[in-house]
């Protein structure tokens, strides 16, 4: 449904995309992952026709988005990262504008509004001013405006940012349902656990390049290792490093961090902490980084993901 080839885009001297290839088949959810500045929003905006690429091509349902912009627009539904709604008109009027712009026949507009409002739990709010909605309700309306014509390609950019837990769960359900009905979904997010919830394919962007792609379990199997991270006030003690070297997997020091790759995190903690000796009072925290998508990211980029993720965390003081 969506094919992106060799996409490049720079803003002045800053390269946002450095040759990105991407494919999203019909009925699949592809999650675009990356830290702030990785190029996710630039990629989504080029696919949506909002920005021109410096090089490369984007085709949607076989249509080149530059040569057949109007036809391509009819196929896609896009909810940009920032909430965009008309606050001084009603929820229904917000939805009506985008249903009409999507080219729905006049008789189908009301039915489409009713269906999407029901799916996004907005049916009791249709006649309320959009500006009077809560943050989660606004986010739902913002997303609903992209769904009215049942797009063949749905692009959601940070769709759950700022949404409450209930709205987030509901939105993820909706995304799964659309994909099950045959829509291709490009889902850009900060939140790694959402990707696992959606069972999406992953495209990992870093510095404007795709550094990995595949199913979550494939990526975890290929790249992720559980590790124990010890943080200190000041540099990790040489004693600790010397004492542990060779007894486990790889050990690394970065600033105040000592990272030990291990298949037995509990045993590693039990042995490593007593081995710190005089450095024990400087130990600030001990954290287990499990073999999940976050550790894939860590293994591939050398730095932690900046999305909010839960992990086993033990405070040392």
């Amino acid at each position: 449904m969506l094919r992106v080839e060799g996409l490049r885009k720079s803003y002045g001297a800053v390269a946002a995309l450095r040759g990105v290839d991407l494919e999203v088949p019909a009925g699949e959810i592809v999650s675009l992952l990356g830290r702030n500045g990785a190029g996710k929003s630039t990629l989504v905006s080029i696919v949506a026709g909002l920005r021109r690429a410096d090089a490369g091509s984007v085709t949607i349902a076989g249509l080149d988005v530059l040569k057949h912009a109007r036809a391509a627009r009819r196929v896609i539904g896009v909810a940009p990262q920032d909430i965009g709604i008309y606050p001084i008109v009603s929820v229904r009027q917000n939805l009506r504008l985008f249903a009409e712009l999507a080219g729905l026949p006049r008789r189908a507009v009301a039915a489409s509004i009713r269906d999407v409002a029901e799916a996004m739990r907005l049916e009791d709010l249709l006649d309320r001013l959009a500006g009077q909605l809560s943050g989660g309700q606004k986010r739902r309306l913002h997303t609903a405006m992209a769904l009215l014509h049942r797009p063949r390609l749905l692009m959601l950019d940070e769709a759950t940012a700022g949404a409450d837990v209930e709205s987030r769960a509901h939105l993820l359900d909706m995304v799964r349902e659309l994909a099950a009905q045959g829509s291709a979904v490009l889902y850009s997010t900060h939140y790694l656990h959402e990707v696992e919830t959606l069972d999406a394919s992953v495209v990992l962007l870093d510095g404007g390049r795709v550094i990995a792609r595949g199913r979550v379990r494939e990526l975890v199997a290929a790249h992720a290792r559980t590790s124990v991270e010890l943080r200190f006030d000041g540099p990790p003690p040489p004693l600790a490093l010397a004492g542990l070297q060779g007894r486990y997997g790889r050990t690394e020091r970065h600033g105040d961090l000592l990272r030990i790759v291990t298949g037995d995190p509990a045993g590693t903690i039990a042995e490593a902490v007593p081995a710190l000796g005089a450095a024990t009072p400087r130990l600030r925290s001990v954290e287990v980084v499990r073999a999940d998508l976050e550790s894939v990211y860590l293994a591939l980029t050398g730095h932690r993901y900046d999305g909010v993720e839960e992990g086993a965390h033990v405070s040392a003081r």
């Binding site: 905006s45 909002l50 920005r51 627009r73 896609i76 920032d82 909430i83 008309y86 009027q93 009409e100």
Partner: protein, 256 residues
Amino acid sequence: MSPRASAAIARHEFRVMRTDPATILFVIVMPVVLVALMQRLFQGVLTAEGVVGATGAEFAVPGMAVSFVAFNAGYTGLTFFRDHGWGTWERLRATASPGDILAGKVAPSVALSVAQMLILFGLAVPLFDFHVSGSWLALAVVVLALSLCLNAFGVAITAVSRTSQRLNAISSAGGLVLATMGGAFVPIPAMPGWAQAVAPALPTYWAMRGLRGVILDGGGLGSIALPVAALLGFAALFVVLAAARFRFDETKAYWG
């Protein structure tokens, strides 16, 4: 361009407009109030010019009509800035073509300008003893040409404005210059020589000339050919300027 998409945006702009009826009422009522205040003053001016039986409405009504449409030229721009402020600009661009957006946003502003002037002309008949000696159709054609022209001006000043403050500043100053220097606030013969020389460079001069010909000199469609051609020429110039400078992917800052 898609007429359906433009019409959808235009209907939406009308819905947005209706949420603030006080503003609409203001631009319709204020010219009426000002005509009431200034009619006697212009009666003297017209009588001094040799217009027999002048009521003053013959100048005050078209003058206020043209002035208030000039003052309101920035309204078109506001409709673009609002979308930037509400975060809906990118959504619109992802859904409709630039031409659809432009037509959908400008058409309601043109309709508002036409309604604003025609309502004033209509109310002036019973309220201020206003008479059109020529063709009402010709008067309506001038009104339409002026509305197109000043809304094209509104788009052009939007194109060069990155912030709503700049748009306000340019539209306020521009509206004042267009109204006064174009002879809508002060009759051309009463202006200093240098101002009389400059006046034809402004579209409002041609609007006032066309309206005066219809209202006072019994003019019909033939008499407004030159003024309407001039107004449409200015409109084309503003469209070219806007097309050269308008960047749909530019981020505009909106306050208020």
